[in-house]
Amino acid sequence: MILPAFELHHPTRLPELLELCRTLRAEGRDFDFVAGGTDVLPNYKNRLNPKGDLISLARLEGFDEIETNRIGARARIADLATSSVLGEHWPGLVEAARSIASPTLRNLGTVGGNLCLDTRCHYFNQSEFWRRSKGYCLKADGEDCLVVPQKKICYATYSGDLAPVFLVLDAVLDLAGPQGERSMPLREFYAFDGIRRFRKEPDEICLRIRIPKESEGLRTGYRKLRARDVLEYPVMGVAMGLRVAEGAVRDLRVAVTGSEAIPLHYGDLDLGNGIPPGEEGAEAVKRALLEWVKTYRNVPFPPGYRRAMAGEFGRELFMTLVSA
C-alpha cells in the first residue's frame, strides 16, 4: 500500500526540530511527528488524517535513555521490555511493555509513540474504501460519530499499554515546543476527545517521562485483554500499584486503558487506605472497577464482557500484588 505523498524532515537536534516546527506552522503547514512509525504509518496507509509534512525523529540525538526514574521518549519498547533495572523497580511497566504488539514491532515502537498512540475504533481503523462505503466518521473526513451519534466528540478508544502503568506511578511528562519546555503530570496530559486526544499543542513533543521518588516501593502489575496473545491492542487493560503495611493495603492505585477515549486513573475512588489484604479487599476492588469502567461498542469484544474483565483483572491483580 503506497503511503500518501508528504515531505519528510530529519532534524538531528532539539533546537533544529523546534525551529522546523515554528517554520512549518508559520507557513500554515500541518505536520505529524513519526518515531517508530508503527502507529503513524498504518494510519497514513489507510489515509487516516495524513499531513503534508512528517517530522521524523529517527536521527534526533538523545531522549532514548532508560533509567530507573527517567525514560526517554525515543527509548525503544523492546528495550523497556528487557530492562532488568525497570523490571526490578517497576515490574508492571515491564509487563506492559512485553505485552505490546510483537517482538519485531517492539524493536521499532517507542515509549513516546506508545503514550501518544492514536485512538482506535471500528469505524476509524479501516481502509479508505471501507470508510467511504460505510460513511466517514467524525474522526476522519466525516461529521458524525458513528458510535455515539448524538455527540460531537469522538469516542474512539485509547489503546496504549504503557500509559496506565505510568499513571499508577504518578509519572510526569517533559514536553518541548516552540514556546519552550514544560512538565505536565501524565494524569493531566490526555483530553477526553478521541480527536484532540492531548492537552499538548500539536507542535510540542514528548522528551521524556519521569517517575517520582514517592512512587518507589509500590508493587505494580498489569493485565490485558486482547484477541490474541501478540499483535493486538488492549481492549481492556488494568494497571495497579499498591503497598502493604501494618496488615493492610495502602496507597492503592488503579488505572485502565482500552475503555474510553483516554487512559483513566481511578485515584479518586475511595479505595485508598486500609483495605484488607485478602478476598474481601479484592472483591471491593472488583466492585469499584465494575462501577467505574465505561466501555463502548467500538473495538473487539462486547462492552459488557470488557467491563467484566476489568473487574476480574482488578481482583486478580490485587491478590497477586498483595502476596508478592
Binding site: M1, I2, L3, P4, A5, F6, E7, L8, H10, V34, G36, G37, T38, L41, P42, K45, L54, S56, A58, R59, A78, A101, S102, P103, T104, L105, N107, L108, D229, V230, L231
Partner: protein, 165 residues
C-alpha cells in the same frame, strides 16, 4: 513538492545507491528499487512478519520503516544470509528444508531472518523463547510446529550463526 533523493544504504554488507521518494518504505526500496525480492510483502501493516529484515541487527517489519530513515544503518535481508558458495543454503534454511518448515514458502524469509536474529543473541534458545521471538510472524500453512522444530534443530547443530553473522 515531493522530492526524490538518492539514498546510500548499507545492505548485506555492501553500499547500494537507490532513488527513493520521502514516502517510500524500506520494503519497496528493497524489492522494487534493488531487486531484493526475497523480502515479501504480506499484510503491509506490520502484523504478518513476511517483510522482516534486520536493521542494525534487530528484526523489524520493513513495511513500516521509512527508507529515508535507513541511511547509515545496517540492513540485512534474506539474501544477505546466503553463503558465498553458489547453491549452498544457510543452516537455518537447511533446517527448514529438513523439517518441512516451508509449505508455500511465502512467510519463510521473514521467519528465517527473525530466527537468525534470535540465534545470534541466544544460540541455545528454549522452545518457549523461539515461540516468543517468532510470535510476530504468521504462517497460514504449517501450523508453526515444524518452523519451531527447524529453529531448534539449527540451534542444536550449533550452525545457526555460522554464516552471515
Amino acid at each position: 513538492m515531493t522530492r526524490t533523493r538518492i539514498l546510500r544504504l548499507k545492505i548485506n554488507g555492501h553500499e547500494r545507491e537507490v532513488a527513493a521518494e520521502p514516502n517510500a518504505i524500506l520494503l519497496d526500496v528493497l524489492r522494487e528499487g534493488l531487486g531484493l525480492t526475497g523480502t515479501k510483502r504480506g499484510c503491509d501493516m506490520g502484523t504478518c512478519g513476511c517483510c522482516n529484515v534486520l536493521l542494525d541487527g534487530r528484526p523489524v517489519n520493513s513495511c513500516l520503516v521509512l527508507a529515508w530513515d535507513c541511511e547509515d544503518r545496517e540492513i540485512t535481508t534474506i539474501e544477505g544470509l546466503l553463503p558465498e558458495d553458489p547453491g549452498a543454503l544457510h543452516p537455518l534454511q537447511e533446517a527448514w528444508a529438513e523439517t518441512g518448515g516451508s509449505q508455500c514458502g511465502f512467510c519463510s524469509p521473514g521467519f528465517i531472518v527473525t530466527a537468525e536474529a534470535l540465534l545470534r543473541e541466544d544460540p541455545e534458545p528454549t522452545e518457549t523463547r523461539v515461540r516468543e521471538a517468532l510470535s510476530g510472524n504468521l504462517c497460514r500453512c504449517t501450523g508453526y510446529k515444524k518452523i519451531v522444530e527447524a529453529v531448534l534443530k539449527a540451534a542444536r547443530s550449533g550452525r545457526g550463526v555460522e554464516v552471515g553473522s
